[in-house]
Amino acid sequence: MGKLSVNLNGFELKNPIMTASGTYGYASEYNDFIDVSNLGAVVTKAISLHPRAGNKHIRITETRAGMINSIGLENVGIDKFLEVKVPELNENNIDYIMNVAGSTIDEYVQVAKKCDENNIKAIELNVSCPNVKSGCLEFGTDENSLYELVSAVRAVYNGFLIVKLTPNVTSIEKLGIAAEKAGANAVSAINTLKGMSIKIERVSGKFIKTIVQGGYSGIGIKPVAIGAVSRLSKVINIPIIGIGGIETLDDVLEFFAAGAEAVQVGTANFTHPETAEKLVKELEEYITKNGFESLDELKKELRA
């Protein structure tokens, strides 16, 4: 393991730069731009028990400091993922974490079981999905339902379990604590912020409105994410993976300072597909240039 290696509570990464779920497909697509095997890990699109077609209406729109998406978790489903995508990832030497989505606890559990049977080393739970059995309240917005979900997955999955926390709550600390208590090995924070864009045009004396509701991501959410990571780091003992508006090396250092052990690049992959690989190189150069022995030493000084 090199200077950039990270040990996340027993899960080894060659460096702390990952890519966020939903922004990187099933990963090998990005080999057109970079060598994806250079990244710490890629987090796949959310995978559900059955294939999902996603939403019908307009799915994306740009905002002043990012974008809003409402894809609706379109994905190939766990069986096809295992059959087609996993061999592709392995063939390309890509370290990956499989993101999991579901609409009932049972769906998550069934997917997690299959991951366990197929030696998927790490999974990240997307808990921003509506729980259809509980009034469609999102799992990740209620401590009890989050605890119940994570415990159920933990019972069937022996690999590295990450819970991706939603910022759309009053106290993200309480949700982080619930995830830790239920047996998560790490949390990632934050998922997208709930938002809406209304674009107004006036055509022939009439207003034409284009409305997109969904998850807001991009540079605009960085301060929200840094705040969440910092508050979580004070109340939980499992590692935190920082996500939210990361584009530059300064962003990465700020997340480390706030308490993140690793980071995920999301929306920036769309703007500059080479971002994550560039950050790996820049972080390595920064560590060497400033005479740090290791990434851990850099983090320690940043938090002092």
């Binding site: 939903g22 922004t23 990187y24 497909g25 099933y26 090998s28 697509e29 990005y30 080999n31 057109d32 731009f33 970079i34 060598d35 699109k45 077609a53 996603g54 307009i58 799915r59 994306i60 729109t61 740009e62 905002t63 400091a65 990012g66 974008m67 998406n69 894809i71 379109e74 592709e88 390309n92 991009g218 540079i219 929306t267 992959n269 769309f270 703007t271 500059h272 597909p273 080479e274």
Partner: protein, 256 residues
């Protein structure tokens, strides 16, 4: 998918070689990449616009000696940025992306409307190179909107200020009867493509249409630009950026 070598990376620094107004509201920009880039008719490139999150996709209009030309209209912040560029400026482009028009040795009718005239002009160039018989009809709002230097066989203007009066679609039946095309290619607003596809079905002629949608990744991963298509008796998602932008008119589920 095989790993690409560095010199095949689909992202380039490109120098602006020409930028000029070619009609009342459209502009032509030609860029030169570090290495010559070959683009097929129907494909697009995406341009990073300073400070904006999403790259802007543009269908290719010309591709001479590895240089890429596109036509654009000023519509928002992205195209404002592109319009502000000067010869010698460097920009960041990615591509070429997407599938291509399926060029067959069949008599072709090409229909372009508005800014959608650009990729059709490039397709015409490719058909001419291959000696495939074709006829290109394009429609614009007014005479001022006809791009200078574009090779078009028949020009229509909505206000009748140039060429034939009215929408190019008004002439579709006549053009089909006159030229007896075996394939119709089209690019333009959604409604134009829908009508071309319907007329193709009516006359039993294959249609290929180039679609447009807001995109994020440009490579099929984010699933932001999907449309419904008919495949093996089912309705499935297809991404405009990767599965398209060119679709058979008969496979698209047309929205009203």
């Amino acid at each position: 998918m095989t790993k690409r070598k560095n010199d095949m990376k689909k992202i380039y620094k490109a120098k602006v070689n020409r930028i000029e107004r070619v009609s009342a509201s459209s502009h032509f920009i030609e860029i030169e990449c570090e290495i010559p880039v070959k683009v097929e008719a129907g494909q697009f490139i995406s341009i990073y616009c300073d400070g904006l999150t999403l790259r802007r996709p543009f269908s290719v209009y010309s591709n001479n000696n590895g240089r890429i030309g596109v036509l654009f209209k000023e519509r928002g912040k992205g195209t404002q940025y592109i319009k502000s560029l000067k010869v010698g400026d460097f920009i960041d482009i990615a591509g070429p992306f997407g599938n291509t028009f399926d060029i067959q040795n069949k008599k072709a009718l090409l229909i372009g409307a508005g800014i959608g005239a650009a990729p059709m002009a490039y397709l015409k160039e490719k058909l001419d190179e291959k000696g495939i018989k074709n006829y290109y009809a394009a429609g614009f709002l007014t005479k001022d909107e006809v791009p200078a230097g574009m090779k078009i066989d028949k020009i229509c203007t909505d206000d009748g200020s140039f060429g034939d009066a009215g929408s190019v679609l008004n002439y579709l039946g006549v053009l089909i009867n006159e030229h007896k095309p075996e394939v119709i290619y089209a690019c333009g607003p959604h409604i134009v493509l829908k009508i071309v596809a319907e007329q193709g079905e009516k006359y039993g002629i294959e249609t290929q249409v180039a679609m447009e949608k807001v995109m994020a990744c440009g490579i099929g991963v984010c699933r932001g630009c999907v449309i419904d298509i008919k495949k093996d008796g089912k309705i499935v998602n297809a991404t405009v950026c990767k599965d398209g932008p060119v679709f058979k008119g008969s496979e698209v589920v047309w929205e009203n």
